[in-house]
Amino acid sequence: MPVVPQSFAMGEMLAVLLARDMADGEKAIVGTNSDIQVAACNLARARHAPHLWWVSGPGGMTNPTEGIIRPAADAENIAVAQAVMDLPLMIDFIDWQVHFFDFAILGALQTDRFGNINTVCVGDHAKPRLRGPGTVGISALCGLSKRFYIMMTRHDRGAFVPKVDFVCGAGHMTGGSSRTDAGLPEGGPRLVVTPLGVFDFEPASKAMRVRSLHEGVTIDEVRDNTGFDLLVPDKIERTLAPDAEELFVLRRAVDTTGVLPAKFPWPKAN
């Protein structure tokens, strides 16, 4: 993990990296327990994407922005939302409709070379070594939104595996055109953000590729912590760190009570 002391927390960096990739007018969904996702969407709204629309998946509140990061499902978001939709009204476009959402941001127990996601179990499903929480909306958001982001708060060989033990969210499946061959709409993962770097998927093979490494991170460190061979470009970019203006807006308009630094500090260097 980064050995250079940073003036921002890991959670803040991930929120900034995600926010940068969002465009004005896009539609997004945020699940429960999604502090970094909420921060990223509201940071984008506060900076370059004022008409980004996001909805709390379970709670139905749209665009709750109060300068405080609350759990997306919380009742307090109603008072600062533009709309509140009942979940049974939302399932049509969450669970069925193709490309309603421009993007979702998902965490995982495991991800693999083609950006498939697993939050169900490690090991065999019938007798798992680790039983995870389950799938909920991940299958639909990976399968149906125009793109998705994988956000990992740990980057190690337990989390980055050659093939996920259970596919609960289809990424690029087995690579190439396998996703659309299976009848899924165009889409899949666009970026993977981790404490070590930013990764994308090579357009033809759809295999995961290094896009940039964070300050202080070496390619060997990434290789040591990734359970499959990443594609590595000739010249490795350095992640553009959050700048002063991004951090100012994040801290003064989005996360005024400091939820991100409290909950998502940098992991201890090992």
Binding site: K27, W53, T62, A81, Q82, A83, V84, D92, F93, Q97
Partner: protein, 296 residues
């Protein structure tokens, strides 16, 4: 950073997407929330050969039909309630000049939900009616599992354009309703393009103060047209009552095509758009509708 969402446009711009031959959905419920300013605008533009999919309605589908804009219409329910049958719809249906796709509540509900869900069809119960006989493409016998009741498949409904009327919206495009939302949101989820007229625009802070009234969140809205009294002669729930006197004038004028054309020439095809329409209706009449005493 504050920029325009670009969703608030004038009537002509909003309606420019509607082309001859399109399938047009209409929201509201009987005399509630009929998007009349949008309907009048379409008639003034002279669109032709529309296929209508109206929620249970009254003067909105009836006027489009009477103006000759419609080739065929779904009919779930088109009624003038205590004022009688929908006069132009009735005449067109009886003479056969407009094809009627007979539909019922389960048919439109199942079809819209399938449309919203990108499913090819919805499953509904076979209720023993004559609807499948007169609309065989709209109601097909479904393969049924052992022991299940008989079911029908209804094809997905996906209007090209949907016309709605709400009471107020903000610059973001959130539309608030003071009354019920009826099928409006489900239709908006199923439609490819959603145009919503509202009586007034309010700050987003006002919208946030009563977020539960936002029946059409901005993500489902493509264009908003601000048209005071845009639901007239129907009612805009919580803002103004339906105009019984004008509706009676409308029904009387609908006795034959010549007479109805004359109505349209006076109120709709006069080149003056909504401002001219409001002038024709008159300040006293409009004011009376807002005062709570106009209902019978």
């Amino acid at each position: 950073m504050k920029t325009s969402s670009g969703k608030i446009v004038d009537l002509a711009t909003a309606l420019s997407v509607v082309k001859d031959g399109m399938t047009v959905g209409i929201g509201g419920w009987i005399f509630h929330g009929q998007p009349m300013a949008l309907i009048r605008g379409l008639i003034a533009r002279g669109v032709r050969d529309l296929t209508l999919v109206p929620a249970p309605g009254s003067v909105a589908p009836d006027m489009l039909i009477g103006a000759g804009c419609v080739k065929e219409t779904a009919c779930v329910f088109i009624s003038f309630e205590h004022l009688g049958l929908a006069p132009n719809f009735r005449r067109a249906a009886q003479s056969g000049t407009v094809k009627v796709l007979e539909m019922d509540g389960p048919g439109i509900a199942g079809g819209l939900r399938a449309g919203a869900c990108d499913l090819p069809y919805g499953l509904i119960p076979d209720l023993g009616t004559d609807l499948p006989k007169v609309n065989p493409n709209g109601y097909r016998k479904a393969r049924v599992q052992e022991g299940s009741r008989p079911l029908l498949e209804v094809p997905a409904i996906k209007p090209d354009v949907l016309l709605l009327h709400g009471q107020q919206a903000d610059e973001e495009g959130n539309v608030q309703y003071f009354g019920a939302g009826y099928f409006d949101l489900l239709m908006a989820q199923a439609a490819k393009h959603v145009i919503c007229s509202v009586d007034r625009i309010v700050p987003t802070s006002t919208v946030r103060q009563s977020a539960r009234l936002t029946k059409i969140p901005s993500a489902f809205v493509d264009a908003i047209v601000v048209t005071p009294f845009g639901a007239h002669p129907g009612c805009s729930p919580g803002l103004y009552d339906q105009d019984e006197a004008h509706l009676k004038t409308y029904v009387a004028a609908s006795r034959d095509q010549k007479s109805f054309d004359s109505y349209l020439d006076t109120f709709v095809r006069n080149g003056g758009g909504e401002p001219a329409y409001r002038d024709k209706i008159g300040a006293q009449a409009l004011a009376a509708l807002t005062s709570g005493g106009a209902a019978p």
